[in-house]
Point group: C2
Chain length 279, copies 2
């Protein structure tokens, strides 16, 4: 061990609940933006036109005319931790453009078992498939971190897409990516021989999208999920996740320090995939 503390002791374990303030522009000059403060400690971005993230994000980065129109039909709104944007089975009211915060997308069976399909990041459009096809929301969207999610009613959104072909293409792109992540999720659930393999796949996936520095073989990333939630992602029980975490730590595949996850060697974890048993 390298002096790294256990997850369970001495450190505040969860940053999930802590408010994450939207980082401001790098140059620090924020006073020109139409900004106000919401009950949940969030900074509200009033207008998409001035959104500091406009350039980086798939759906926001559109020609000025389109963004203007988009802005007109969008209602900004904020949601506290624990809120629910929409529920599986509801008929689609419209989409939410996630500006800040994080959302958990899940589905639940009749007996209460939950499958977490995806954690949604800022810049994504939530409820897109259902809104496009008109069929009910297939997932439930719960707020994990206080969130600004701007709502666009279904009809207005569809009209907007009809008028702006580029936007429709963007929508198709995001749907494609969403599908991609769904397939990769199916792979981890469906192709693994053991829970350990599933967890390894999950950790690698997680790090490839949350790593602080992706170039090296060693990876560090924030783990903002509880064991329970991880279990619900990979389709296992909370207890096995806990046990596997201990095992991985024992086998030097993993270190946990507070909410920071360290994978000393990505390659070592990858070796674990599809290795039925070292005999």
């Amino acid at each position: 061990m390298t002096g790294i503390e256990e997850w369970s002791s001495s450190m505040p374990r969860r940053t999930v609940g802590g408010f994450r303030i939207v980082p401001r522009g790098k140059n620090g000059s924020t006073h020109e933006r139409p900004v106000m403060h919401a009950p949940y400690g969030l900074e509200i971005i009033e207008s998409c036109l001035r959104c500091p993230h406009r350039q980086e994000r798939l759906f926001c980065n559109l020609p000025p005319a389109a963004v203007q129109r988009l802005s007109a039909i969008t209602s900004p709104s904020t949601h506290p931790k624990g809120a629910t944007l929409f529920v599986e089975g509801q008929s689609p009211r419209g989409v939410y453009i996630l500006c800040s915060g994080r959302i958990k997308l899940s589905t639940t069976s009749a007996d209460g078992k939950t499958l977490i399909v995806r954690m949604s990041e800022p810049g994504e459009v939530l409820g897109l498939p259902a809104t496009i096809t008109g069929s009910p929301y297939e997932l439930t969207a719960d707020v994990v971190e206080p969130t600004q999610a701007n709502f666009i009613p279904r009809n207005e959104f569809l009209n907007f897409l009809r008028d702006h072909g580029e936007a429709a293409l963007r929508v198709a792109q995001q749907l494609g990516e969403t599908y991609h992540s769904a397939v990769s999720e199916m792979r981890t659930i469906g192709l693994s021989h053991s829970a350990g393999e599933k967890l390894a796949r999950f950790l690698l996936d997680w790090c490839s999208s949350n790593a602080t520095d992706k170039s090296k073989d060693e990876v560090r990333a924030h783990m903002t999920l509880t064991h329970e939630e991880i279990a619900q992602v990979i389709g296992a029980s909370r207890e096995t996740v806990t046990r596997l975490f201990s095992e991985f730590k024992r086998r030097q595949l993993l270190q946990v320090s507070g909410s920071v996850l360290v994978i000393p060697s990505r390659a070592a974890l990858e070796n674990l995939l599809n290795a039925p048993e070292p005999r």
Copy 2:
């Protein structure tokens, strides 16, 4: 038992391999269509403009100008059973519009385990997510029934979408539906407590899209998959599928006659979902 024969005896068990001839127009007047015969017993639809399915299908049913343009960039081609349209991991060459036949979409792990994600039906556009996003095909497309699949190269397809906003919307719609089916697949794999539950979910899903008459509680449908393939869909072993089939037949939940599947009561099967144990 109602005199229904066992799957294993006396009947030709698989129609999968049998050629399915594309049904002609109801009125029988086919001689006006630009039709020719391919090596595999298939009827080729040379031009989308005259495609007999144009009205029913999501992507084909577009304004004349769009269909014309589409027709210009499309290369019709046929593929025998066992052929592979594209392989997981290849960079996307373009899309295939599936005119007739059936395609198996699957993903495989390093050790050879296979997960069948979906069976694709005529009218769908294959390779769409990868072609739109530019990332590699996430699945492998294998021909199960001799197939006509018209190819459109990626660049031409993207340009086409840029010029025809309606088409982009259709693409988004199909992506939404594809995503929907992926989620439902994840539900059957991820939320079930037992293999029996998974199989029941699969059968219900299958019947809801292949039933001959959906109004009644009793359902009949063609089962064109082998036990092995069903196993690969629901993430179980071939043997358990076989055993579960026997069990379901014993419990009167299911009858199999040749390749025809009969579910006497859909409700009875549904009772099986999320019922941990009848105690």
